[in-house]
């Protein structure tokens, strides 16, 4: 592996796109204001200068057509990356994504490939209120044919986005807006790929397993480090890819520790950690569980505007700590 460099999550996303666009002329980016403007969150700033407006395509405000066009371009030989400005607006692209892109291959008896990546920023924390703050990854996980990725660090963002772009299936790549400015060491190797479906133990531990991903990962890690000092050894497991899911990694960790806390930002009811809970409860890990599973998730509410309320809508470090204490029976 070549050098590493410290960079933001946002820049890691950009680097992945740029490297893949240099490597493969079939890769291109399209979306609202991704060109000169550089995207609503500035992820693609400067790309139009390098790649031109053919390959960094500004689109009208037409999420359904953009996403469907990506599917059509993908099935005929391109590898489009679509940026949907906020995850909330995938609501407008659901037919294209769910009924078309995800199902084409199967419906056509295996005689089609749809190598497209749909990038979208998810999550709350920016004061943008109910229609700009959702975490809807669970929806996509429920759609066979789609892969779903939610990176929690800059390095993962790079390695997973490159894998997504090279993958021959439609991949929903959920970026975390509140992580965009977070920094981390990122491998510069142009073949640094993190295979979709491979989770990672972000911190080893022996007393309790915490499974989490995305925005909640840094929070969990901070709590885990504090607790370490207090003598509680927390193992932090980050699946990184939700579909396909690294079940083995999760189950083995739970077998090892016998206790598990699941954390995600999305609304609790129907969130993806519910699926993880079910997987654990039906697995051989069930017999090793010394306490009920604890889930910590966003409240079942739309995200409010007021900053204090907004912050209280998703699990805080205090709540994560309390959840771990609870499963430890302390």
């Amino acid at each position: 592996m070549k050098d590493m460099k410290e960079m933001t999550y946002k820049d890691a996303v950009k680097l992945a796109m740029c490297e893949e666009m240099r490597r493969d002329e079939n890769v291109f980016l399209m979306g609202e204001d991704v060109g000169l403007y550089g995207g609503a969150f500035g992820v693609s700033v400067g790309m139009i200068e390098e790649f031109g407006e053919e390959r960094v395509r500004d689109t009208p405000i037409s999420e359904a057509a953009i996403t469907g066009a990506a599917a059509g371009a993908a099935v005929t030989g391109m590898r489009p990356i679509v940026e949907i400005m906020f995850m909330d607006f995938t609501t407008i692209a659901m037919d294209a994504l769910v009924n078309q892109a995800a199902k084409m291959r199967y419906m056509f008896g295996g005689k089609a490939k749809v190598p497209m990546t749909l990038r979208c920023p998810g999550g709350s924390g920016t004061g943008a209120a109910a229609q700009h703050s959702q975490s809807l990854e669970a929806w996509f996980c429920h759609v066979p044919g789609l892969k779903v990725v939610v990176p929690g660090t800059p390095a993962d963002a790079k390695g997973l986005l490159k894998a997504a772009i090279r993958d021959d299936n439609p991949v929903v790549f959920v970026e975390q807006k509140t992580l965009y400015k977070e920094k981390g060491m990122v491998p510069l190797d142009e073949d640094f790929i993190i295979p979709l479906g491979k989770g990672e133990i972000k911190k080893e531990g022996s007393d309790v397993t915490v499974v989490t991903y995305g925005r909640m990962l840094p929070r969990v890690l901070r709590v885990a480090e504090e607790l370490e000092k207090e003598g509680i050894s927390v193992e932090v497991v980050d699946p990184r890819t939700l579909v396909p899911l690294d079940k083995e990694l999760i189950i083995n960790s739970v077998i090892k520790t016998g206790r598990v806390v699941l954390v995600n930002e999305a609304c609790k009811t129907g969130g993806f950690i519910g699926e993880i809970a079910a997987i654990i409860a039906e697995s051989e890990a069930f017999d090793y569980l010394d306490a009920p599973i604890v889930r910590l998730a966003g409240l079942d509410i739309p995200i409010p505007y007021n900053p204090r309320l907004e912050a209280a809508a998703v699990p805080s470090e205090e709540q994560i700590r309390a959840g771990i204490m609870k499963v430890m029976n302390r």
Binding site: A65, G68, A69, A71, G72, T76, F108, G109, G110
Partner: protein, 320 residues
Amino acid sequence: MTDISREILLEIYKRMNEARAFENKVSYFFARGMVHGTTHLSIGQEASGVASCMALREDDYITSTHRGHSQVIGKGIDLNRMMAELLGKYTGYCKGKGGSMHIADVEAGNLGANGVVGGGIPIAVGAALTQQMKKTGRIVLCFFGDGATNEGSFHESVNLASIWKLPVIFFCENNLYGMSMPQSKSMNIENIADRAKAYGIPGYIIDGNDAIEVYKTVKEVAEYVRNGNGPVLIESRTYRWLGHSKSDAQVYRTKEEVEEWKAKCPIKRLRNYMLENNFASQEELDKIEKKAVEDIEKAVEFANQSPEPPLETLTEDVYA
């Protein structure tokens, strides 16, 4: 008199007869409950579906619809594998997983029928984008119905294609109804072609029961589109003789209206034209017609003798 060659006219005639025979058979099967699911027949619309595709280059693309049998036969398809797909067999185009609403042959340029009204329109636009970016010189013919033009996907897609000047022909088969909804009630305009004005592209109205007009218009428009002038909207006026799908009592239209349109049969019309203008003899045309029916019987035989998809295939091909 038309300058379309005799060979092409005969080929159009052949494929229209194949489509008719195919659908008569399918209709027979469904009426007897011999097939599972539903189907949407295009009997009466064959000129529209067949002659338009015949005007394409072989390497051009189409996106087809739920009412797509004439379209894909027009594009050139193996009737055996098509019938096998309809009967859910492993030898079908989709290995029995797609059925009538999802017949596709991506390699041959058929990007798939679509069960979602308007669902294929953005896909066509994306396929056209590929052609433009890769400078292949190919174009895309995008089928949809009158009802589909009320979907948001129509609007967004045509707009997108118009600003990027993509090589796509938006081909609306206006058969006057979207299921039970007459066009006159589903929109406040008479000519769907007028919707082209919202995107600054040309709009044409053609007689969709006249194979020659359909062929010539698409041929001409295809060149315009292929030359980088951007998309075109064609409204092809036609009519479906049968119900919307398997189960349709057709209370929303009169028998007289249906009879009126049956009198305008596109196949008879082309036949008469060819006879009157000495393109072909009665016998020749009879032979083609007969052969079409026979070929469909053979297709049925092929399908019947084909295996069911093995149960292991159930979980295959979800991912590449």
